[in-house]
């Protein structure tokens, strides 16, 4: 059975989704339990797989017993194993933390909601694990369609329209990717990544392959909301229901960023990406632009959730820039930042969802006095904020460390400046909120005591609070152990890929 882990990892939540939707017509209350089960098992499996990969190295699983390139294969190396763990963790923790809200908010269609939730996770897991270009497209569509509909369940005034825009952009992205794959297929006759990787080198100078690469890349970049193509992202994530936001916002963009790195390393080769098409400088500068613009646009927002979505845009800039600088250090920084960013974005959105319980809206003004009212929740919010700023020992600092180090090695001083600049802007962004939440009292001491009395502590319910606190702690631990993350998991694969 353990041999089948790679398949089960994806198919257990799949089956669970079907069962849940079927049962939701008969017995609604059992849905949550099954959903939890359907996410706990994959979590366990993904951890087991990570261990296995670290011990035995690369795993290749042939579905249906057909060898690639004829059949479809799953390729697991340490990096995507750790990404899988991150995905399952976030999905599970988020479900636990937001279950209460889901149950109340979607009571009459919770079956459908859970089903789509699980299928979204299935899509992401498949995308990360698969070794087949076309299979990736199908799974991408699963993740997208579920994503569209989860997002559309939010604020009835705005969510459907922003979701529909997402549909258009997303479809363009997917179609571009599909076109690219078609071009690869017509030139090589294969769809299996490893096989294509072998077949391509003689074709590196054919314009068809270059165009194929460009189209795959642009498609993926649309999906990950890279700067000029990010227009769908802010609305979609701002108006989504908070349980969906805290699931989709951390995962979707980062997984697509991982796909980009996968394409660059294991479908095409760094040799092709960095030397045959000499675009790496241009892309890094674009990434710089993405970071700055994201930060500036975030600066212009008064709505905290919207601000965070723009921060995502600039974080994506970090990853793309790191990946395109083109040396092992920066690449490892990018991969590490994918993992860290999943965690910190998750933590910040989850805590925001919890905060929203006790505020009227997401405007900064609504945050006043929160440190007194919900100290622990705010503490987690602060931790995630500091991590996004990049204050040690939170994890955000360390990915920045490697990114900057890589930029120094690669001589991209513009990228360094931009990284530091965005950190400084993030300080402003977050301390704006912290101040609002911290400084509540009018002047004199006499009023202080009254002020304290006026705001009673109304902390978040434990079912949400405990996962939240654990996530915040996880942020710090990931930071502290990032050294071993790099040394054991990321660096070997990356440097093997880049050589």
């Amino acid at each position: 059975m353990t041999g089948n882990y790679p398949a089960l990892l994806v198919t257990v939540p799949l089956l669970a989704a079907f069962v849940i939707y079927g049962c939701s017509w008969l017995h609604k209350r059992s849905c949550l339990f099954m959903a939890l089960l359907g996410l706990t098992i994959p979590f366990a499996i993904s951890v087991a797989l990570l261990k296995k990969v670290l011990i035995n190295g690369h795993i290749s699983y042939h579905l249906g017993g057909w060898d690639p390139p004829w059949g479809i294969a799953y390729e697991l190396d340490p990096i995507n194993a750790i990404v899988l763990v991150a995905v399952t963790t976030v999905a599970l923790v988020n479900l636990i933390a937001t279950s209460k809200e889901i149950e109340t908010r979607f009571s009459d269609r919770r079956g459908a909601f859970y089903a789509l939730y699980l299928l979204f996770v299935v899509g992401l897991l498949g995308i990360v694990a698969t070794g087949d270009l076309f299979n990736l497209y199908v799974l991408l569509e699963i993740a997208s369609i579920t994503g569209y509909s989860l997002i559309a369940m939010g604020d009835p005034a705005r969510a459907p329209l922003s979701s529909l825009n997402y549909v258009f952009m997303g479809t363009i992205g997917a179609c571009f990717y599909l076109l690219g794959v078609g071009y690869i297929y017509i030139m090589t006759g294969s769809l299996n990544m490893a096989d294509v990787h072998v077949l391509l080198p003689p074709l590196y100078h054919s314009s068809a392959i270059v165009v194929a690469f460009i189209f795959c890349l642009v498609g993926v970049m649309i999906k990950m909301g890279f700067f000029p193509l990010h227009s769908w992202l802010p609305n979609a994530y701002t108006y989504a229901p908070s349980p969906a936001t805290s699931l989709i916002a951390p995962l979707m963009t980062k997984v697509m960023a991982y796909v980009m790195i996968r394409l660059m390393i294991s479908v095409f080769s760094p040799k092709f990406v960095f030397s045959s098409i000499a675009a790496s400088n241009a892309v890094v500068w674009l990434a710089c632009l993405a970071i700055v613009m994201g930060a500036l646009m975030a600066l212009a927002q008064r709505d905290v959730r919207r601000m965070l979505t723009y921060i995502i845009v600039s974080e994506i800039g970090y990853i793309v820039g790191g990946a395109w600088i083109g040396n092992a250090t920066a690449m490892s920084g990018a991969v590490l930042h994918i993992i860290n960013d999943v965690l910190m974005t998750f933590c910040v959105f989850l805590s925001l969802g919890a905060i929203a319980r006790s505020t009227k809206g997401y405007q900064i003004e609504n945050f006043s006095g929160l440190f007194k009212k919900i100290p622990v929740t705010m503490a987690t919010f602060v931790v995630s904020g500091l991590s996004i700023i990049g204050i040690p020992p939170t994890c955000g600092f360390f990915s920045k460390w490697y990114l900057i180090l890589g930029a120094i090695e690669g001589g991209h001083y513009g990228f360094i400046v931009v990284l530091l600049l965005s950190s400084l802007i993030n300080i402003i962004l977050f301390f704006r909120i912290f101040e609002e939440a911290f400084f509540v009292y009018p002047k004199t001491n006499a009023v202080h005591t009254e002020g304290e009395a006026s705001i009673a502590i109304a902390e978040t319910p434990f079912v949400t609070l405990i996962p939240l606190v654990l996530t915040a702690i996880l942020l710090i631990f990931t930071g502290i152990y990032s050294g071993s993350l790099i040394a054991l998991i990321i660096k070997p694969v990356v440097s093997a890929g880049l050589l």
Binding site: G390, P392, I404, L405, L420, L424, H448, I480, G483, S484
Partner: protein, 493 residues
């Protein structure tokens, strides 16, 4: 030099963190809460003292927590210099806790629990900086300190606190992220390591220009040292409750700043490298400017705490100056100025606080004739100001003396002049206060005020007395410093 592996440094850091849960737990019962603060402070001090004999016998205590970045472990090392600093700050924490009890209760401040918690965190971070074995560890604790101090600075949570809190963050975080971090990364890129070594880890292979740029980035990156033009946060931070200003802005935070600079010069670049390339001239110039300007601005201050802040700014640059002289005497002066100034300045702050508690007065002009109402306080103030000016019978004299000799040793007569002029200026802004207090007739406003509560009074007397004692028994300091110098200078010889 042999090294002992022990978790004592870690314990020293964690001691105050352990106390936090209890402090929070007993937030409803102040007595217990403060008991835990004392427990933390005492245990911290004892642990640090317990490492004294080891270090004095020429060994160093290290504690590697784990590899945080390949080649750069999260590591603590206790050497004489760090121990000196740790001793000063931890011993003063005890006194400050006593004082804060009196002060905070005296003024009925709000949310004291939060206050004590972050105070504990700040102290842990300070000790962490003192003991960190490499630049990254140091940076981590430095940042933690910056953030832990923010709620203390903005304790009053009013508009004024908000604006000065902003300024504080802007200067401290901005400089550390904008300058210190890249400088650290570049040196890591160049040297491949960040661990301090007595001869510095930045080899001479690096071009002079790069080294110069790095040095400047580091000096300004450590904005806690308040070297001009990055000093403006310190006067702003004076909105904090006085105990905070006393411990953090006279001892812990600002001294962390200069301590970082000392580490940079002695541990990262290495004295001999700097001497051979004579890189520190700009630093000396900056320090001199800061000394003079700080004193001059202090002359014009009427608010006592702001005056003290500016005097702190100029005094800190003494240390920076002494280190950047790179001469044996100069270093001695710099190192010994750490405890001397610490005790002197904290006394002054204590006095200011005591006056505020007793009379509610912040401005010097309102303190005429206060000496009759509060003789003890003003006496302590007088002694401390002597120590800062650098006159016997106070410890400050020693540091001044050594600095002066150091400047001669380094053949920099101008520095000598600066030192002497600044001493005059110091006298110029301290003496009027004392004079007004004792020789003016009592104003009706302050008529009939009594001394501040005992909790406030005792610590300031103690510190004042200590700053006298140090003149006559400087041996322990000298011993530590001589060890330190053996490593720093001796390594090159």
């Amino acid at each position: 030099m042999e090294t002992i592996h022990s978790i004592r440094p870690l314990l020293a850091i964690l001691a105050s963190l352990f106390a936090i849960p209890f402090i929070v737990g007993f937030s409803r019962r102040p007595a217990m809460r403060e008991f835990w603060t004392f427990a933390a402070a005492g245990s911290k001090f004892l642990i640090i003292v317990s490492m004294l004999p080891l270090v004095l016998t020429g060994r160093r205590v290290t504690c590697t927590i784990f590899e945080i970045i390949p080649g750069v472990p999260l590591q603590l090392t206790v050497d004489t210099l760090g121990l000196l600093f740790a001793l000063v700050s931890s011993s003063l924490w005890i006194l400050t806790s006593i004082y804060s009890v009196g002060y905070m209760r005296g003024l009925g401040e709000h949310s004291q629990t939060r206050y004590f918690c972050f105070f504990a965190v700040a102290l842990s971070a300070t000790i962490g900086v003192a003991f960190s074995a490499n630049l990254l560890t140091l940076y981590i604790f430095y940042e933690i300190l910056s953030l832990a101090t923010y709620p203390l600075v903005t304790h009053h949570q009013d508009e004024e606190a908000r604006s000065s809190g902003r300024r504080y963050l802007a200067y401290i975080l901005g400089s550390s992220i904008g300058l210190f971090l890249p400088a650290m990364l570049i040196s890591y890129h160049l040297a491949g390591t960040l661990t301090f070594s007595a001869s510095g880890f930045l080899g001479a292979s690096i071009s002079r220009k790069v080294l110069m740029i790095l040095l400047i980035m580091f000096i300004f990156g450590a904005a806690k040292a308040a070297v001009m033009p990055l000093h403006a946060w310190l006067p702003a931070a004076m909105v904090a409750p006085t105990p905070v200003s006393a411990l953090l802005h006279a001892v812990a935070v600002v001294k962390v700043g200069v301590f970082v600079i000392i580490r940079i010069i002695t541990g990262v670049f290495g004295v001999n490298l700097l001497k051979s390339l004579s890189l520190t001239t700009p630093v000396i110039v900056l320090a001199c400017i800061t000394i003079l300007c700080g004193s001059l601005i202090a002359l014009s201050q009427d608010n006592l705490k702001r005056l003290l802040a500016y005097s702190t700014i100029s005094q800190l640059s003494y240390i920076v100056l002494g280190v950047s002289l790179l001469s044996q005497r100069g270093l001695t002066g710099a190192f010994i100025h750490i405890p001397m100034h610490a005790f002197g300045k904290i006394t002054l702050f204590f006095c200011a606080g005591a006056i505020f508690v007793a009379t509610g007065k912040k401005n010097i002009s309102e303190m005429k004739g206060l000496g009759r109402q509060m003789p003890i306080t003003m006496a302590a103030f007088f002694i401390a100001s002597l120590s800062i000016i650098g006159l016997p019978p106070c410890g400050g004299f020693l540091s001044k003396w050594n600095l002066v000799l150091g400047s001669i040793e380094a053949h920099r007569p101008l520095v000598l002049v600066v030192l002497l002029v600044s001493s005059l200026l110091n006298a110029g802004y301290f003496m009027p206060v004392v004079y007004k207090a004792f020789f003016f007739k009592t104003e009706s406003a302050v008529a009939g005020v009594k001394e501040a509560p005992l909790c406030c009074l005792i610590p300031l007397c103690l510190t004042a007395i200590f700053s006298i004692i140090f003149l006559f028994y400087p041996q322990p300091f000298y011993e530590l410093i001589s060890h330190a110098l053996k490593c720093i200078i001796g390594a090159g010889v």
